[in-house]
């Protein structure tokens, strides 16, 4: 474990560098293959509409994977993440065009904990809606 960020330099309210992630249909096909989640709601528009969705939606776990990058890019060492949890509140709808959708992730330090750990609260938005709720990570700093 070798975090880039020193616990003593961080205060409650410190904002992590925000990031925007692009997701297209091609991204979802690639994620389906890598993760083994081939649920057709993530690649088949006809099926998605039949089960009541507006369009193909991103895997919740894809969104969860993108959001934590704001933390792992900040701290450097992905192994510094001790806990990570989210609630899937709204789907990320991915249209069949070359633009796709974006997921905007911001994060700030919400609490300083024992053993050089901090709690980071994350916000993930897509098309103006909050797509993750209760999104929190505990990360160990140097």
């Amino acid at each position: 474990m070798a975090a880039n960020i020193a616990y003593d330099d961080i205060e409650v309210g410190t904002e992590l560098p925000a990031q925007t992630f692009l997701v297209t249909r091609a991204t979802l096909v690639q994620y389906a293959g890598a993760s083994g989640d081939f649920n057709p709601i993530h690649w088949n528009e006809k099926f998605a509409v039949e089960v009541g969705l507006p369009d193909v939606i991103a895997h919740g776990m894809f969104t969860m994977a993108e959001a934590i990058r704001v933390v792992t890019d900040w701290v450097g060492d992905p192994g510094a993440v001790a806990e990570y949890g989210v609630r899937f509140t709204k789907p990320v709808v991915v249209p069949n065009d070359d633009k796709g959708a974006t997921i905007e992730v911001s994060a700030k330090v919400a609490a300083k904990l024992d053993d050089n750990a901090v709690r980071v609260d994350l916000t993930a938005m897509s098309a103006g809606q909050k797509v993750l709720g209760m999104s929190r990570a505990v990360v160990r700093l140097a």
């Binding site: 474990m1 070798a2 992630f21 991204t27 690639q30 994620y31 293959g33 890598a34 993760s35 083994g36 989640d37 919740g60 776990m61 894809f62 969860m64 994977a65 993108e66 934590i68 990058r69 792992t72 890019d73 450097g76 060492d77 992905p78 192994g79 993440v81 001790a82 806990e83 990570y84 949890g85 989210v86 609630r87 899937f88 209760m134």
Partner: protein, 150 residues
């Protein structure tokens, strides 16, 4: 139909070991577009103090979710999988998953609730390595949406 509360606390047998490969980690990291060298370069991972490349934090879900299949496909439990959506997900890590790990998962039903006709199932997956050491715990909340009245 509400699920049988007597399944709360039930654990399923450990899964066969899943061997974590370097190239599988690389494939996953590329799929989420994450260029962190700890996922692909053993030397970069060593510089951080790891024996081999490590996996992105959510990678282990691909293993625990497969293990949770024992629960969701248990005919005695009778969950309607076609109506299931992922509600919450949480991980607590003892250490990062790394290439070379041989991981087994024990899935336990932590809670069953019924809310407005929806069945809510909380599954805990305990992940251990070949030496029997705890690596990570994954909590997955699944919601089976109420069937429409016919």
């Amino acid at each position: 139909m509400a699920l049988d509360q007597s399944f709360v606390g039930r654990s399923y047998p450990p899964t066969d070991p899943y061997e974590v490969g370097r190239e599988k980690i690389r494939e996953f990291a590329e799929a989420v577009g994450d260029p962190n060298s700890a996922y692909t370069d053993p030397e970069a991972a060593k510089a951080l103090g790891y024996a081999d490349v490590i996996a992105p934090p959510t990678f282990v879900f691909t293993i625990t979710y497969k293990a949770a299949g024992q629960v969701v496909q248990d005919p005695q439990l009778g969950l309607d999988y076609s109506r299931v959506v992922h509600g919450d997900q949480k991980f607590a890590y003892k250490r990062p998953v790394r290439a070379g790990d041989r991981l087994t998962v024990v899935s336990t039903i932590e809670a069953i609730k019924s809310l407005a006709g929806n069945d809510i199932l909380d599954i805990r997956g305990e992940v251990h390595d070949e030496a029997g050491e705890h690596v990570v715990t994954a909590w997955t909340k699944l919601v089976a949406r109420a069937a429409e009245e016919g």
